[in-house]
């Protein structure tokens, strides 16, 4: 008897099951409307002094993503002190020492307090690579600093 009514419920109800798709966005609702993400993936942060500027580099503790073009990319955020934002003309990030200002690497863009840069990462890493930060100020000065890439890479390698 009970089996019968269960079966009838299933017969009638199975075609409405696709309504369950509406549950998919539910977990993302609270995060969507809050200005800061609620579930922030763990971050790796390093403070670096680049000439007169002290900045904080941050990246998610995740392996680099692969672009459709096949390149490996890692996203970095560069926090700049509020007092400095009008003095910084450009921030460039590159794996390996740039040979000149023309090859300084990925130009950071966006929010002047927290610029972001997508840095190309080589497929094979020897473990001795360095991440170079090149900063230009508005008077034409160029400042550089580097740190071991392994310190600010994240993810399992």
């Amino acid at each position: 008897m009970r089996n019968d009514s269960m079966r009838r419920l299933w017969q009638r109800g199975k075609f409405h099951l696709s309504a369950l798709m509406m549950l998919v966005p539910l977990p993302f609702l609270p995060g969507y409307f809050s200005p800061k993400p609620i579930f922030v993936p763990p971050e790796v942060r390093r403070d670096v002094a680049v000439g007169p500027f002290s900045v904080t580099l941050a990246t998610y503790d995740e392996a680099p993503g692969r672009m459709p073009t096949g390149e490996r990319m890692k996203e970095y955020r560069i926090h700049i002190r509020p007092a400095d934002i009008d003095h910084v003309r450009g921030v460039f990030l590159r794996v390996g020492k740039p040979r000149s200002l023309r090859t300084a690497g990925a130009l950071a863009f966006g929010n002047p307090y927290e610029r972001e840069a997508d840095v190309t990462v080589p497929d094979e890493l020897a473990g001795t690579e360095e991440l170079w930060v090149t900063m230009e100020d508005w008077s034409g000065g160029v400042h550089q600093a580097s740190l071991p890439l392994g310190e600010i890479f994240g993810g399992k390698r």
Partner: protein, 382 residues
């Protein structure tokens, strides 16, 4: 039973079954899409800060930027967006904590009427409708619906002989049994929405194909090489020079005199140009982008429109505009909204009809087809 008749019946079964297993999902996507079409207008009704009516001399962008930055301490305006004659200008600000904020500025008085943080209602509905807020899985789930949609349209046209009669003799028997009424409504609404369903399913298929190619590493390209300023074009100064946005806008307007202004983007880096976007009226689907040197206010290049766009870029812009109905102002949006509601009704009425009829018809047809095929092929099918 004649072969022709049973073939029609098979088409009919296809029509009945295509959307049924997923009807609730399709219904949800149709409904959220319909709301997304007019989400800006809904917010305009709900949020008084977005409204700005009445005439008067419009303030220059520099005044709007100054007002917005004064209302959000530490914020730096990254873009201005002009919505229309009854809308406040929305100023997007980058905040010191890395988030962004929107300030609604009255274009005539310069009063900041409201400040809202986080994502807007509009982008929420777009994310809900377009990818269930789960990118890219949701994008595929939603765009795959284009296939049953095309199928329903084609099979519906095959099954509903003389559908064009619904254009000049629409008949809905409101007083009859609900099954009859829903059936009539389904046929009339379906006939009147043929063009709309075709537009929506073709554009959705495009979104599906576009994303597939992108993920397969065969991006369609067509994106232009970004316009950048050379290092020697950037002035040397003690601190960052403020771009003269009023001069930037004036040169853009001089370059495209009949342009209806939509956006002003400030440079994202010291090497980026400022961009003024608007529709110039000659090609309503295709906006123009005027890239301007922020330091000298010289126009570097005008992109967009018919001439400058590549085929892919043109397709992308047109497909998006056709899908959202956002190309001819409020009248077009209202048409898209009305037909979106009609399409949502089609999904719902289809489900009701199915529940009341098709289950039984399928059992019969399957039996008939089995019997028929046995009669036709029986002896030779050894």
């Amino acid at each position: 039973m004649s072969v022709g008749k049973s073939r029609t019946r098979l088409w009919f079964l296809w029509h009945s079954w295509l959307a049924m297993p997923i009807w609730a999902f399709l219904f949800f996507v149709c409904l959220t899409g319909t709301i997304a079409v007019v989400s800006t207008e809904i917010m305009w009704l709900v949020n008084p800060a977005m409204r700005a009516s009445g005439g008067g001399e419009a303030l220059p962008p520099s005044a709007l930027i100054a007002a917005a930055e004064a209302a959000a301490p530490g914020g730096r305006v990254s873009s201005l967006s002009w919505g229309g004659s009854h809308m406040a200008v929305s100023a997007r600000l980058a905040m010191p904590d890395g988030t962004s904020t929107t300030a609604w500025v009255n274009p005539v008085s310069g009063v900041v009427q409201g400040v809202s943080t986080g994502n807007s209602f509009q982008s929420f509905f777009r994310a809900l409708h377009g990818w269930l807020m789960t990118f890219p899985v949701g994008w595929y789930l939603v765009t795959l619906l284009a296939i049953p949609l095309v199928g329903s349209l084609v099979t519906g046209l095959v099954v509903y002989k003389r559908f064009w009669k619904s254009f000049y003799q629409p008949r809905i028997r409101w007083r009859q049994a609900p099954r009859v009424m829903w059936g009539d409504l389904h046929r009339v609404a379906g006939t009147w929405s043929i063009w709309f369903i075709a537009v929506i399913s073709v554009t959705s298929l495009w979104f599906l194909i576009y994303m597939m190619l992108f993920h397969l590493g065969m991006g369609l390209g067509g994106g232009k090489v970004p316009v950048l300023l050379a290092r020697d074009q950037i002035p040397v100064a003690a601190t960052a020079p403020k771009p003269d946005v009023d001069a930037v806008l004036a040169s853009a307007k001089a370059a495209l005199p009949d342009m209806r202004l939509r956006y002003l983007w400030l440079p994202g880096t010291a090497y980026d140009p400022a961009t003024v976007a608007g529709s110039s009226g000659q090609v309503p689907l295709l906006p123009d982008y005027v890239r301007v040197n922020p330091f000298t206010a010289e126009v570097i290049i005008i992109e967009g429109g018919m001439d400058a766009a590549s085929g892919i870029e043109l397709t992308r812009t047109i497909m998006r505009a056709l899908h959202t109905g956002d190309f001819g102002g409020l009248p077009v949006k209202l048409v898209w909204f009305a037909f979106g509601l009609l399409m949502t009704t089609l999904v719902f009425s289809g489900m009701l009809i199915w529940m009341k009829r098709t289950a039984r018809a399928t059992v019969e047809a399957v039996r008939d087809v089995r019997r028929g095929s046995r009669l036709a092929e029986g002896p030779s099918n050894a």
